[in-house]
Amino acid sequence: MNTVLLNLRAIRGRAYPRIVGLMREPSWMFWETVLPLLSISAFIYVYRSLNAPAMYEGFVVLGGVMTTYWLNVLWSMAAQLYWEKETANLQLYLAAPMSKMSILAGMAFGAIVSTTLRATAILILGIFVFHVNFVISSPILLVLVFVVALFALYGMGMLFASLYLMWGREAWYLNNLLQEPVYFLSGQYFPVKALGNIVAAAASIIPLTLGLDAMRQILFPESIPWGFLNPWVELGILALLSIVFIIWAKYALDRIEYLGRVKGTLTMRWQ
C-alpha cells in the first residue's frame, strides 16, 4: 500500500479514539471544565485581593486555557507511550507497518481537537463568570501564534513521548515535576518579563512561554510594556521550535527504540 496513504490512515486511526471518546465519555464536560475553573477562580481572587487591574484577571483566564494544553501535552502525549508500555500495547505499535511518527501525529491531532473543545468551554466560562474583556488587536497574528504554539507544544510532547520510553516510573514523576515549576517559569498567570530577561529567555525553550506572552500582548494591548519580545519575533521563534522539536522527536524515537530493542526494555513493565 502507498506509504503516505498508510501513514495518513494511521494518523486518522490514532486520532479517532480521542475525538470520538469525547462523545462516548461525556464526564469530561464536568471534570475538565469545572476543575480548571476552581484554580482559575482562586488565582483571580488572588489578584483581586491585591487590587490588581482587571486585565490581570484576563491573564489568569488565558493562562488557565493554555494550562489545559500543557497538561494534555504532558499526560496525553508525553506519557502516552509509557502508558502503552505499562499496558503491554507498545509492542503492537512497534510491530505495526506505519511510521511511529504518524502514530504520534495522530495522537497529537486527536489531542488538539479534544483539548480545544475543553479549552473553549473553560474560556467561555471564564469570560462569563468573571466578565473578562479581551481586545483582539490583531486577529490574524493571534490565530498564527496560537496554531504555531500548539505545533511547538505538541512537537515537544512527541519528543517527550520518545524520551519517556527510556524510563519507568521516572516518567510519571517527571511529568508531575513539569507542572507548577513550568507554570512559574513560563509566566502562566503573569508576564514572564517579571522574571527578568535571562530567565525569560531560558524559559522560552518551553513553547508556552512565548505563546502566552505573544497572546497577552495581542489580547491586552495595555500589557505591551510587560511584553518580553515583539509578538512577530515570538511567532518566528515558535515556528523554529516546532520544527526543531518534531525533527528531534523523530531522531529520539528511532534511537530510543533501537536502544530499547538492544537492552530488552521495550516490554519491561512496572519499573
Partner: protein, 274 residues
C-alpha cells in the same frame, strides 16, 4: 500481625513507592521543586502587581500556600493508591485478602505521605525568609494544627479512596476536585472575606477554613482575614477538631459503603486498562 506492625509496613511501602524510583538526593530535590514552583508562582503574581517582593499580603498567601502543599500532595497521592493497586500493579486483590484490613493499609500509607509533605513545607518556610516574611511561631499551636490536620486530610484522602473503589478513570480528577475546592474556599491564598456571602457560609463547613486560620495565627502571629478574625482562637480550635473528626467518620462510613458495593458488584479488582 499487630496494628502497629501493619501500619509500619504500610508506611514503609509508601516510602518505597514514592522514593525508590531514584536516588535519595534526587528524590529530595523532586519533593521540594514542585511546591517551590507553586510558591514562586504566587510570589511573581504579587510582584507584578505590588512592584516589590515583600508585604503582608505576600505573607498571607505564601504561608497559606506552603501548608496547602501538605493537603494537596496527600489528597492527590492517596487518591491514586486504589487506582495504582488495582490497575497498574494488579495487587489490590492480594492486599485485600491479606490479614491487614485495606482501610488500615491506606491509613498507614497516608501517614508517610503526610509526613513526607511536611518536609517541603519546612523548606518553603525557610525560603520565606528571603521575602522577609516575619514569622512569629507558636510551636504548640502549630503542632496542634498539624496533628488535627492529619485527621481531616487523611480522612478526606480515604473518602476519595472509597469513591475510587467504584470508579474507573476519575482517580486523579476526584482528588484534584477536593483539593481545588479547598484551595478556592478555605482562605488559602486570599481572605475568605473576598468571597461572596453564600460562599463564605460554605467555607465555614470545611475544616480547612479553620485550619488555615489557625496556621496563620501559629506562624504569623495574627489572622489578617477579617472574616476569620471574628472567631476566637478557642472557637477556631474547637470547630477544627469537631469538623475533622466528623470528616474522618464520614470518610470511614463512605469507604465501608463503597467497599460493600464494590464487592457486591464484583468490581473490587476490575481492570479497565485505564
Amino acid at each position: 500481625m499487630s496494628t502497629k506492625n501493619e501500619l509500619k509496613t504500610a508506611m514503609w511501602l509508601e516510602f518505597q513507592i514514592e522514593s525508590n524510583w531514584t536516588s535519595p538526593f534526587i528524590f529530595a530535590i523532586y519533593n521540594i521543586f514542585k511546591p517551590v514552583g507553586a510558591a514562586l508562582l504566587l510570589v511573581a503574581m504579587f510582584y507584578v502587581v505590588a512592584g516589590k517582593w515583600t508585604g503582608n499580603s505576600l505573607a498571607f498567601m505564601y504561608v497559606g500556600n506552603a501548608f496547602y502543599m501538605i493537603l494537596a500532595q496527600t489528597l492527590f497521592s492517596i487518591g491514586w493508591i486504589v487506582h495504582d493497586d488495582r490497575e497498574h500493579y494488579s495487587t489490590l486483590r492480594y492486599l485485600y485478602i491479606s490479614p491487614t484490613p485495606y482501610f488500615r493499609y491506606l491509613v498507614g500509607r497516608s501517614i508517610t505521605r503526610y509526613t513526607l509533605s511536611i518536609v517541603p513545607m519546612l523548606v518553603l518556610l525557610l525560603l520565606g525568609l528571603l521575602f522577609k516574611i516575619e514569622y512569629k511561631f507558636n510551636i504548640l499551636l502549630l503542632g496542634f494544627a498539624l496533628l488535627i490536620g492529619f485527621v481531616f486530610i487523611v480522612g478526606t484522602a480515604l473518602l476519595i479512596s472509597g469513591i475510587n473503589l467504584l470508579t474507573a478513570r476519575h482517580a486523579g480528577a476526584i482528588g484534584e476536585a477536593f483539593a481545588g475546592i479547598f484551595y478556592l474556599a478555605s482562605g488559602v491564598v486570599f481572605p475568605v472575606s473576598l468571597l461572596p456571602a453564600w460562599a463564605q457560609q460554605i467555607a465555614l463547613g470545611f475544616p480547612t477554613t479553620y485550619w488555615f486560620s489557625i496556621i496563620r495565627i501559629a506562624v504569623l502571629g495574627h489572622e489578617a482575614d477579617t472574616f476569620m478574625a471574628s472567631f476566637s482562637l478557642l472557637e477556631l480550635c474547637l470547630y477544627l477538631t469537631l469538623l475533622s473528626f466528623v470528616y474522618f467518620l464520614i470518610a470511614f462510613l463512605v469507604f465501608k459503603f463503597a467497599d460493600t458495593v464494590a464487592r457486591k458488584l464484583g468490581i473490587l479488582d476490575m481492570s479497565t486498562t485505564y
